[in-house]
Symmetry: C2
Subunit: 202 residues, 2 copies
């Protein structure tokens, strides 16, 4: 079991740990790491250039016990990871609400839907109903390929699973319906470019 904090590395929530079998846990242990760093750098670039204001939400934590030592900062002595009720990233671009989740897999031919939680899917559904721009950024880490998939398509695949269909999205489906994002230097993952072309915001 690896402790990845401090340094802004991603945790898996306790709930994730519980639902994922031990072996698969290992296979997925790297997900979100490089991707999160790349997205943070991308958002920082957008922010500094005045292109968009998009932030990652803090990791939700249930705080149970706090000490207040004299003359120093409060110390949280007992707390637990909570499952996020929304997606991780949101913000504003040209007046529009932007909302997304980023996930990675080590699989090469499909993207497992268990990377998402039911309430995240529900959140995406609600955002789309409010005419927000919701999507997911999917990384095939073994292939070093990143795709932008619109929320409406993710919902289709989720609903297919709910109706007894496959529990993953085929990579060919992502290639067909999604949008390949080449890894760049600055910004590293230029998802705003995809939004521009999809929503004609330029």
């Amino acid at each position: 079991m690896t402790i990845r904090y401090p340094n802004g590395k991603k945790y898996k929530s306790s709930a994730e740990k519980k639902t994922a079998p031990k072996q698969k846990d290992y296979a997925f242990s790297n997900r979100g790491m490089t991707l999160e760093e790349d997205l943070n750098a991308t958002n920082q670039f957008y922010l500094q250039k005045g292109i968009a204001v998009i932030h990652k939400k803090p990791t939700p934590v249930q705080i149970v016990q706090v000490d207040y030592p004299k003359r120093s900062a409060a110390v949280i002595k007992e707390a637990y990871f909570k499952q996020a009720s929304t997606t991780d990233y949101n913000g504003v671009y040209k007046g529009r609400y932007i909302d997304f989740e980023a996930k990675e897999t080590r699989y090469k031919t499909s993207f497992p839907l268990k990377n998402f939680h039911a309430h995240q899917i529900e959140h995406i559904r609600r955002v789309l109903a409010q005419d927000g721009i919701a999507f997911v950024i999917l990384r095939f880490s073994a292939l070093e390929e990143i795709y932008f998939l619109e929320g409406k398509h993710l919902l289709q695949f989720w609903d297919r699973m709910e109706k007894g269909g496959r529990k993953s999205i085929k990579k060919t489906e992502i290639e067909e319906l999604g949008h390949f994002i080449p890894l760049g230097y600055q910004p590293r993952i230029d998802y705003i470019k995809i939004i521009d072309s999809l929503y004609h915001l330029t």
Copy 2:
């Protein structure tokens, strides 16, 4: 010193504690509590009715040490409150990006600007530059009065202070430029109504 967790009560970050003198600390100790609960209930109402999707961001925490006991959830054993780099609430309403901060004061004739941090002001500036809808909800707790003040006006008062002017907003200024929100039952603080009238989104 009161420990207000667990139960979703609001903390003051360590940075806040440091900047605020002891006595004033006491005067402000109640700020954000009832207001936060009322806003959470309001947002929950909007969410359930499909009116808007607006959430409070989790309290940002810097995690230092985590234990992974066998057969139970990971326990955070050492962590510290971080100062938020954005405002507390954001989301989407009719496609538009909504962003706000909520603060209260026990003063009756003015609202101290030290309730806001420089980077929150900077965030509001950036959101407005992206054509987002940014505002603050100000509560005069001793008077039980709540006001909606547009981000652009908050920025004016902040800039006035930066130029050597007064360190607070006069209540009469808030009454003139802001919008009184009567406390309701459901929703308790109907700020969407103000947004509708200000931005003609109906």
